[in-house]
């Protein structure tokens, strides 16, 4: 084989290499980085974006996009906090958040699949719509969400591992299984690969297209519950801009925006890359003005390295 990196190509190890490189550099630059404490810390910070990224992966695999996840996160968090305030059971409050997310996602999916509107426009509109709904419901104020049971979701631990990290790992494993071992996942790939061929093969493409947005919404709802529980309050502005980070995680992870190729393993790596860059720049105490520029540069370089190893046509 001419290219010594052939193996890496085959197993799409580019993003992983990028991640390891960043970790290596940070370990050399600061002794605060390579510690169990910091790893758990990063893992917890990353979990929200990873959850959104997993849902986003489903959507992007079909060739779609979901810009509304940040707004769904805020809306479901607000309604969970609202239910808590009304004296509802903590577990029920979490379910409320998930349900709200599911409904919002299903609305997205219906508009995209049945209304045949470009996903970008449809979810751009619902992003504004759901944010508006959040503002109306909260009247622009944070809603307090203090309840011991509820706060364990975002702030608790199972053994030494923060609960959100455990939840994220479970969701990730489930998603991985669905995508690589179930007919459902295979059909999602098929729709992204060639929607017309998928339809001709008897796949009800509209149904699956609705479902991927439902999943994305559901996970955004779950993320909303976790964030609310972690902050002890639901913020009306929570999650704004999160869609871009989630999409970045997916794409840095090697999933094609055209759909049909990729997966959640890459997304997890992508989310870790973004999270670790943020964490590292903070640890290195890089001046705040330089942080953004440096972050942009690192992402560029990481993706460029990855692409240089990609198969040439």
């Amino acid at each position: 084989m001419k290219n010594p990196l052939g193996l890496m190509q085959k197993y799409k190890l580019g993003p992983l290499l990028g991640l390891l490189l960043i970790c290596f550099v940070l370990t050399i630059l600061t002794d605060r980085f390579f510690t169990t404490g910091n790893f758990l810390n990063v893992a917890r910070q990353v979990s929200i974006n990873a959850l959104l990224g997993v849902g986003m992966t489903f959507v992007i695999l079909t060739g779609g996009i979901d810009l509304s996840v940040g707004s769904i996160l805020a809306l479901s968090g607000a309604l969970a906090a609202g239910s808590l305030a009304m004296g509802v059971d903590p577990i029920l409050a979490v379910l409320v958040a998930c349900l709200v997310g599911l409904i919002a996602g299903t609305i997205n999916g219906t508009i995209v699949a049945f209304g045949r509107i470009a996903p970008f426009v449809a979810t751009l509109a619902t992003m504004t719509l759901f944010r508006g709904a959040t503002l109306i419901y909260t009247e622009g104020r944070p809603i307090r969400a203090v309840s011991e049971g509820f706060n364990k979701l975002g702030g608790g631990y199972i053994g030494p591992i923060p609960t959100p990290v455990i939840i994220t790992i479970i969701v990730f494993l489930l998603a991985w299984f669905v995508l690589s071992h179930m007919t459902f996942g295979r059909r999602i790939f098929a729709i992204g690969g060639n929607e017309e061929a998928a339809r001709l093969s008897g796949i009800k493409t509209t149904r699956y297209k609705v479902l991927v947005y439902s999943i994305s919404g559901l996970l955004a709802g779950l993320a909303g519950a976790i964030l609310t529980s972690r902050l002890l309050s639901a913020q009306p502005t929570a999650g704004s801009g999160y869609e871009l980070d989630a999409i970045a995680a997916v794409v840095i992870g090697g999933t094609s925006l055209a759909g049909g190729a990729g997966g959640v393993v890459g997304t997890l790596i992508g989310a870790l890359i973004i999270g670790i860059i943020d964490n590292g720049l903070n640890l290195l105490n890089v001046s705040s003005f330089y942080q953004q520029a440096v972050k942009g540069l690192i992402i560029l370089v990481a993706v460029l390295i990855d692409r240089r190893n990609a198969v040439r046509r």
Binding site: R44, Q45, G140, P142, L227, S233, L284, S288
Partner: protein
């Protein structure tokens, strides 16, 4: 929502109803919601109509909104500028249309403004710094969580804070990072700082939202650190009383909004008003 305006449908009586436009930098922050509520209550009381605009922290969006207020021919504009320079044009436009402007909370650097109602953010930053110096007895490591880069609130509070802190020989600002006036960013930035700085004695956050986020991070790390916020919002005052936060520099957003309407009425009636009306700042500590 609470923003429903009963006066909107009321028939215009024999005398002309006063219409005031209030252009706020953002409503995604309880501080400004309070300001709006204060103004609304005052307007309801005197039977004035209040038109509320939310610029979502975007200067050019706010310019557009002021233009739209001018198109509606309101009697007075209450302006809470997103930025001091950026809104000069809008003020000039209002001047051209002969609509008087009163600024709230933040000032503008040009055009004719009949009156400015605000608390002094530089003074507030100093107040916070002096409190921290006293509590630390002049010695220790301090973290500063900054507001959105480029907003005057972040600028002024930082300036006031550093004027006091930087002359202290034994107090060091070991980390200074922006968290965009946002609670969740406040938390994650603080988490990272806690990883890199073994020894932290106090945190000054440019507003309460970031302070409350930092509090979450600090509690999770099981550390004891003095936290000082800014605004005096409900959640923060409760945290102070629970002993979780050390203090918050309280502004009086409701009062600022209320004064805005009172002065708008005076201006509309042709009365002369003072150019500068200060709203009191006050350090809230545990009773």
């Amino acid at each position: 929502g609470g923003s429903k305006d009963p006066q909107a449908e009321a028939p215009k009586g024999d005398e002309k109803q006063l219409t005031v436009g209030i252009a706020l930098s953002t409503l995604n922050n309880p501080f400004f919601v309070d300001m709006k509520d204060g103004a609304q209550a005052a307007a309801d009381k005197i039977g004035a109509k209040l038109i509320v605009m939310d610029a979502q922290d975007d200067a050019s969006k706010q310019v557009s909104q002021v233009e739209d207020l001018i198109q509606q021919k309101v009697d007075v504009i209450l302006l809470n500028p997103t930025d001091s320079d950026g809104l000069v044009t809008a003020v000039a436009d209002a001047n051209k249309a002969n609509i008087p402007v009163i600024t709230l909370d933040r000032s503008v650097n040009g055009g004719t403004v009949v009156s400015h109602i605000a608390s002094d953010n530089v003074a507030g930053g100093k107040l916070a710094a002096e409190f921290i110096v006293k509590q630390l007895e002049g010695k220790g490591s301090v973290v500063e969580l900054e507001g959105i880069a480029g907003t005057s609130a972040a600028r002024d509070r930082g300036q006031g804070f550093h004027e006091v802190i930087d002359v202290q020989a034994d107090i060091k600002v070991v980390a200074k990072q922006p968290a965009d006036f946002d609670r969740s960013k406040g938390m994650s930035v603080m988490e990272n700082i806690l990883q890199s700085q073994p020894e932290i004695n106090a945190v000054f956050a440019h507003n309460d939202e970031m302070a409350l986020g930092a509090l979450q991070a600090i509690e999770a790390a099981k550390k004891q650190i003095l936290i000082v916020g800014f605004d005096g919002g409900d959640d923060a005052v409760k945290a102070v009383n629970d002993g979780k936060m050390a203090a918050t520099v309280a502004q009086q957003p409701k009062l600022i909004g209320e004064l805005g309407i009172q002065f708008a009425e005076k201006v509309a009636n042709g009365e002369n008003v003072e150019a500068n009306i200060p709203a009191d700042l006050m350090l809230v500590v545990k009773e």
